[in-house]
């Protein structure tokens, strides 16, 4: 016998929009992440290249990946919440 999920799970009319947006953002982040990995694998000397403020590519790319994940999370939540509210009004 199947059981229902815990808590109140209402019908989510925004689910398709959120899933599509999630996949798109995931692809963007994955490309940037594996760009970092590929530089490490193929041209590791580039990681020591100084970019701005005396910081090298490794530091800027590494910090950038962490900050980008946070920023993309907020962007994703903004559009998802907006769509959920729109669906509730309808």
């Amino acid at each position: 016998m199947q059981h229902k999920p815990e808590g109140s799970i209402a019908t989510d009319n925004a689910a398709e929009f959120k899933a599509k947006l999630g996949v798109k953002l995931f692809i963007v982040y994955s490309l940037i992440y594996f760009g970092f990995v590929m530089i490490g694998l193929t041209k590791p000397e580039l990681m020591g290249f100084e970019l701005i403020g005396g910081q090298n590519l490794a530091i800027i790319y590494g910090f950038g990946l962490i900050i980008l994940a946070i920023v993309m999370g907020f962007i994703y939540n903004y559009f998802c919440t907006k769509r959920e509210n729109k669906m509730i009004k309808k």
Binding site: M1, Q2, H3, K4, P5, E6, G7, S8, I9, A10, D12, A15, K18, A19, G22, V23, L25, F26, Y29, S30, Y33, F36, V37, G40, L41, P44, E45, M47, G48, G53, G54, Q55, N56, L57, A58, I59, G62, F63, L65, I66, I67, A69, I70, M72, G73, F74, Y76, N77, C80, T81, E84
Partner: protein
């Protein structure tokens, strides 16, 4: 290493442990149903759950392991921070909301929601158990490491204390208490790590970390045909010269005490640099720098050999900003310590020799993971790096103790929001790990026997108060994470295996009792493993847990959510393939051979992280088996 035990540290430790136990008692009264035990009744606020996510995730691996790895190997340790955080992107964008909608208590519930398959119930419960145990090992090792300087107890006692407290917590209150423990601990960890980072930046960089820092002997040597025949300082006597790989190590005697030195050639002069060493005789007796441990001749290390500011050499910098701190280390030189082992007669000698390292090499990948042709990187070295980064990226959203936290909130949007709170707090913490790791590297706090204690020992160098709080939080970190893992494991045994797979009829109270008994068994097993794996870097061990999770669980989750042709048999066989291939590669890897006391080079698979092989294998299995069993799907409803 022997540490002085502080009364303040003991009091703070007891207070934090008391707080955790108090919370457990409080919530125990409220936890009567299986829903309350396994999923906190789905009633946790998303903000609290988000910080509790951080508490779950910022385990011993993050605070102890990453800081230690950065302190030993620079930027290569920071790769773990980048990978661990990137994994949350997969969780947020692909997994959080659909999984919340599908599941009830466990990861197996979600996988099985569409199929009602006994094969999925069985394989998912086994995979949950295997991943949780892989993740439990580093937590227990970290706990053991913590109590050595904190309470002056041996490693095994720390493992036993954590194991016992956690078994008590989990068998009394389950997921509600675990959530609030994680919430408090997650918040405290981020706040006090920020304070520690402020101390590091305010302290700046110094050639001599502190007044008591050891002054390393550097003795001019007279060498004939690679053999040291005499030294300039006549108070020393040359005992023997020993070639080990590309190194020449020399044993000297002074005032009846023997020591090992590393022969170096600098600017046409030959000199002997003092090393730390441990010798073990055939009876198993250990001498630290030639004396029993109790004589305290072994010391903490880590210092800068050259500080360059605006092109000029200086002795110290004064307070630095966050970017200046990194830039100054990048332009300067640091003395790192590397390990070598060899035999001297019947004794096994392990030495740690000084290695002057350019700051620019510390601030980019390459010290731990060989990547460039210049460093002699092989194909397998590069494959190991790729495998690690892949496992870290894909492992987070497949960790059972993280996945069960999605069922503690009330809705899909709450699951999403709590993930974003988690990403923000965890991301901020991971940026701090670079400062805490580098701070440990240069402030004379490294215990060469265990990298795991670098962060707390750095705090100790700034004052016993900060050390006491940081260590107690780190201990609570282990308590919280182990609690979460044991709840996940007990859910896999009691709910997925006994209740759903074996279909043993139990009352709701009976299910809770079965869960508690399962928690007790897993807890005892974890204690044993924590003692066996003493001395290994906890972040490395967690990297392995991520690889097993990414191989066993993630293909099943993602294909279930995004590929309509996925079948129950496809999922079950993919989990089996993922578990067997990843654990098989780990068991026969060079690092594990080292752990067994065998020669690492003889390991049949020269790969430390299995992800690059086991993840694609699990995906291929899922696709092939699903395509071969399409008939099974003809009677199923696939609307999510």
């Amino acid at each position: 290493m022997i540490y002085d035990v502080s009364n303040l540290a003991v009091i703070v430790f007891l207070f934090i442990v008391g707080l955790v136990l108090g919370l457990s008692f409080f919530f125990a009264r409220k936890t009567k149903s299986s829903s309350g035990y396994f999923a906190a009744g789905g009633k946790i606020h998303w903000g609290v759950n988000g910080i509790a996510f951080a508490g779950d995730y910022l385990s011993a691996a993050s605070f102890l392991g990453i800081c230690g790895m950065i302190a030993y190997s620079g930027y290569d340790g920071f790769l773990y921070s980048i990978g661990y955080l990137a994994g949350w992107v997969v969780a947020l964008f692909l997994v959080a909301e659909p999984l919340r909608k599908l599941g009830k208590y466990t990861f197996a519930d979600a996988l099985d929601a569409k199929f009602n398959s006994s094969a999925i119930k069985l394989t998912a419960s086994i995979s949950t158990l295997v991943v949780s145990i892989f993740y439990l090992i580093p937590q227990m090792v970290g706990a053991g490491d913590l109590v050595v300087p904190l309470l002056g107890l041996p490693h095994w006692m720390g493992v036993l204390i954590v194991g016992s407290i956690v078994i008590f917590i989990v068998t009394t209150a389950g997921m509600t208490s675990t959530t609030y423990v994680q919430f408090i601990k997650g918040a405290l960890l981020v706040v006090f790590s920020t304070i520690l980072t402020i101390y590091i930046l305010n302290n700046g960089l110094k050639l001599t970390p502190n007044e008591n820092y050891h002054k390393f002997a550097n003795i001019e040597a007279i060498v004939t045909k690679d053999t040291v025949v005499n030294v300039s300082d006549k108070s020393y006597t040359v005992i023997k010269t020993k070639s080990v790989d590309d190194f020449v190590f020399v044993k000297l005697e002074k005032n009846g005490s023997e020591g090992w030195y590393n022969l170096n050639k600098k600017e046409g002069k030959t000199a002997l640099d003092e090393m730390l060493f441990i010798s073990i005789n055939p009876k198993g007796e250990k001498l630290y720098n030639g004396a029993p441990k109790s004589e305290r001749k072994f010391f903490q290390v880590g210092h800068m050999s050259k500080i360059i500011v605006d092109g000029e050499e200086v002795d110290k910098t004064g307070p630095l900003g966050p970017f200046e701190f990194i830039k100054t280390i990048k332009n300067s030189e640091v003395v790192l310590f590397s390990k070598k082992s060899f035999t001297d007669g019947e004794n096994l000698i392990t030495v740690w020799y000084q290695k002057i390292t350019k700051g620019e090499d510390i601030m980019k990948p390459g010290l731990l993971y060989k990547l460039s042709d210049a460093s002699g990187a092989s194909f397998m070295d590069r494959l190991n790096f790729l495998s690690l980064m892949l496992a870290l990226f894909l492992g987070t959203s497949a960790l059972p103790h993280i996945l069960i936290r999605y069922y503690t909130v009330s809705s899909q949007s709450a699951a999403r929001k709590s993930t974003i709170v988690a990403i923000a707090s965890i991301g901020f913490f991971y940026i701090l790990t670079l400062y805490m790791g580098l701070g440990s590297m240069i402030n004379g706090v490294i215990d060469v026997e265990s990298s795991n204690m670098s962060g707390p020992l750095l705090a100790k160098s700034f004052g016993i108060g900060l050390f006491s709080i940081i260590s107690a939080i780190a201990f609570a970190t282990v308590l919280g994470t182990v609690s979460g893992l044991i709840v996940a494991s007990s859910g896999a045994i009691a709910h997925d295996f006994i209740d759903k797979y074996l279909k043993v009829k139990m009352t709701d109270k009976g299910k809770v009792k079965a869960g508690k008994l399962a928690a007790l068994s897993v807890g005892i097993f974890a204690i044993i493993l924590g003692i066996i794996f003493e001395g290994m870097n906890v972040s490395f061990l967690v990297g392995l847990a991520f690889a097993v999770a990414a191989s066993a669980n993630l293909p099943a989750i993602l294909f279930l959510l995004f590929w309509k042709k996925t079948t129950a048999k496809g999922i079950a066989w993919s989990i089996v393939t993922g578990v067997l291939s990843s654990t098989g590669i780990i068991i026969f890897s060079p690092t594990m051979y080292n752990q067994y006391g065998l020669i690492a080079k003889n390991a049949p698979i020269q790969l430390d992280n299995p992800g690059i092989i086991s993840i694609p294998l699990a995906i291929i299995t899922l696709v092939v088996v699903s395509l071969l069993t399409q008939k099974d799907n003809s009677t199923k409803d696939f609307s999510i």
